[in-house]
Symmetry: C2
Subunit: 272 residues, 2 copies
DNA sequence: GACCTGTTCCCTACGTTGTAGAGAGTTTCG
DNA sequence: CGAAACTCTCTACAACGTAGGGAACAGGTC
């Protein structure tokens, strides 16, 4: 916490610090961006700063906290290109795109992001505030807003994770998707029984042909985002009315809308 | 591959094996179920089987492959409670529930599941076949089916990941969500400016109060699944027809619906 | 029976990892 | 000038995945 907000009276005595938390975080982010989160070790970060691993512990209590601060840091510096469009759909799409762009710049984020008990630093909170605003005018109540945002961001994260996994297997095996498929096919033909799995054979072939791979991150994102927004639209554009844009009476749709929480003790949680 | 399908002529010479791949996989799954995937080390698995770490390498080329086989294994043994309901919506909800139940039984799965280039074993393929069938009668074409399934499963995985993260932080900190919040609040009050972040303050408070925590996995699942199905409904319940539910004109909402892939070379990919 | 050969399993060892503990060096306060 | 506070380094530990080099075992062929 003190770390996240950089609140700590600096010491008066002792040799003057050669490092700052910010420099450490920047170095760690640099490594993570270039070589993945797995390459971020205390020794590696220290080396980049010209000190030993242990000296980092004067600034940061542990690696877990360092990663929390990295996360808050990239959130704080995130570009928010979202247009103040008047249509909620465009605004939400922009929020999704911004997040996707962030994952593109910092692929390690997808492997790190914490949902429950997020590190409540300035970056996390600013992001939460900003993204909640995209729901202004939708008529959703506060609980629904939070749930809807979590839903949207979760979708983008899934896409980013999948894209990251795809990139990783490309690098590790040093094979393109096609080469992988060609390597795997002859074996599969020997064991796979198309009569037992007719749908899998047909759909797999069609999807593979359309995408040039078993999985295409871009398509998955485009397809999924449309579904996500359509799904939220059913909640937002209410039962009775039905003009081009918003409606009144946001409540209730199939499978039960978000609940109306009856009090309960509880946190002023932020998300992600 | 040989590993996944257990196709390998057993040797005629040499001491008779004390282990089998199945026993190794079962031991590894047992550890992962009980203590998380991080506790699955070669030494630990070996210990549970009464051998040394290195002897596992006679059966399994590396830890990565072992995890692939674990994944295929739990998929193969998965219960599929999906009712052969006549409504696609009920069938898809059942598929989601089945997957959620699987993640509940094997929480480590969420931290492991590979989307692109999945280990194409019998379990993975059977699961793919079964789940694709849930789309029978929806009128979706093959490419759309695959995309829709990936979308649905991705959603469930996200929920499972979040739930797993919540459980992990509960265990690691040995704090309930409330205790965590109470620990963090006094500090937050000192640095957080509600005037700067009015929406975050209000929505966070409302969501926290409703959930009793910053994040509630059950609510997130219920809410999200309804949105996912609503979103797919817009795609499925087409332009012309349609009674009680959807609106007209589903095509081209902003962010466009699924694409129509033009050929391309490619794999008969399976998913997950 | 004896040998060869392919297997299984163990021992040791290397280079990583996060971080605990002790101590050396540096700066400021009383 | 101490003394206290602080930064940074060194060494060390347990745990990780797995490479390399054997020892013990069992079948096939003489």
């Amino acid at each position: 916490m003190e770390l996240l907000w950089r609140t700590r009276e600096q010491p008066r005595r002792g040799p003057r610090p050669r490092l700052t938390v910010d420099r450490i975080v920047a170095a760690a982010i640099g490594i993570a961006d270039g070589e993945g989160i797995a390459a971020v070790s205390m020794r590696r970060v220290a080396e980049r700063l010209g000190v030993t691993a242990m000296s980092l512990y004067t600034y940061v209590p542990s690696k877990a906290e360092l990663i929390d601060v990295m996360l808050d840091g990239v959130y704080a510096g995130m570009t928010r290109a979202a247009p103040a469009s008047d249509h909620w759909r465009a605004r939400l799409a922009a929020v999704a795109d911004d997040n996707r762009a962030l994952y593109a710049r910092h692929p390690w984020l997808a492997a790190v992001a914490a949902v429950s008990r997020p590190p409540l630093g300035p970056g996390v909170i600013a992001k939460y505030e900003y993204e909640l605003r995209a729901f202004d005018g939708t008529g959703l109540d506060d609980v629904q807003r939070d749930a809807a945002l979590t839903f949207l961001l979760g979708f983008v994260e899934t896409c980013a994770r999948a894209a990251g996994a795809a990139r990783a297997s490309r690098q590790q095996t040093e094979m393109t998707d096609q080469e992988w498929w060609e390597a795997v096919t002859p074996y599969l033909e020997r064991v796979f029984d198309p009569e037992r799995y007719p749908t899998a054979a047909r759909v797999g072939a069609a999807a593979g042909a359309a995408q040039g791979a078993a999985y295409d991150p871009d398509r998955a994102y485009t397809f999924g985002l449309a579904r996500v927004l359509d799904g939220l639209a059913v909640l937002i554009e209410a039962p009775t009315t039905r003009a081009p844009t918003a409606g009144s009476e946001p409540r209730a749709n199939p499978a039960g809308p978000a609940a109306d929480g009856p009090s309960g003790p509880g946190p002023t949680g932020a998300r992600r």
